[in-house]
Amino acid sequence: MLTIQTKTMGEIAIDERQVITFPAGLIGFEDFTRYALLDAPQKPYFYLQSLQTPDLNFILLDPFLFRPDYTIDAPDEYTTQLGIKTPEDALVLVLVTVPPGGGAVTANLMGPLLISRTTRLGVQLVLADPRWSVKHDILAELARVKKE
C-alpha cells in the first residue's frame, strides 16, 4: 500500500497496482508522468491523480458509456510500446472537462488515454478521425444513445 496526497480527497491509501506511468506525460503536461487511477466519489467516473503534485488531477470516464460507437485506431507502435498484446489488456479512458463558469460537461474523444492493464503504462493518443472532437457534451451524447 502507498499513501498519497490527492487534490479533492485528502490523504488516501492506494494499492501499487493503481499506479499508472505515462512515460511521455499527457499533452501539455509532459513533466507529470506518474499517476494513480482512482474511483471518483461519483460513479462511474475515475480520477487520474498526479503522484508528483496533489494539485494535478484529471477526471476520466469510459467513453463507450456514452458513445458505444467509439473506436480508436491505435498504431501498433503504441500498443507495442505499452506492452498491450490483447484487446482485453487495453483500457481506454477520456478526459472530462467541467467548465469553471458552468455549461456543458464535456469529454475529449480526440485525445483519449490508452493504458495497458498489465504493464500499467499509458499514453495520450492524438486521433485524426473527424468524428472525434475535444468537446463532446456528455449529457447530449447520453440523450442520443437513449433515443437509439
Binding site: F58, V98, N108, G111
Partner: protein, 75 residues
C-alpha cells in the same frame, strides 16, 4: 527558424531517418509526404494544440456534480 525553398518532388532530410517530400502545391495548400520511424509521432499541429488546450481546461475541472450516467446503458 530555418527556412528553405523547395520544388515539387524535392525532399528535405531531417536527421538520418526523417524525409519530407513535397508532393503537390495547389493554391495555398501543400501536400507533404513524410517518412519517419514508427516511434516518431507525426500529426497535424492544430490537433495537438487543441488537445493541449483541452487538457489544461480538464486539469482545472473538479469539485462539482458530474452528469449522472446510468451504467445499464453499457452494452
Amino acid at each position: 527558424m530555418l527556412i528553405l525553398s523547395r520544388k515539387i518532388n524535392e525532399k528535405l532530410q531531417i536527421g538520418d531517418q526523417i524525409t519530407i517530400t513535397i508532393i503537390e502545391v495547389k493554391g495555398d495548400q501543400v501536400k507533404l509526404g513524410i517518412e519517419a520511424p514508427s516511434d516518431v509521432k507525426v500529426f497535424r499541429r492544430e490537433l495537438y494544440d487543441a488537445i493541449q488546450e483541452q487538457n489544461k481546461l480538464a486539469a482545472a475541472s473538479g469539485g462539482i456534480q458530474l452528469p449522472s450516467i446510468d451504467i445499464a446503458h453499457k452494452k
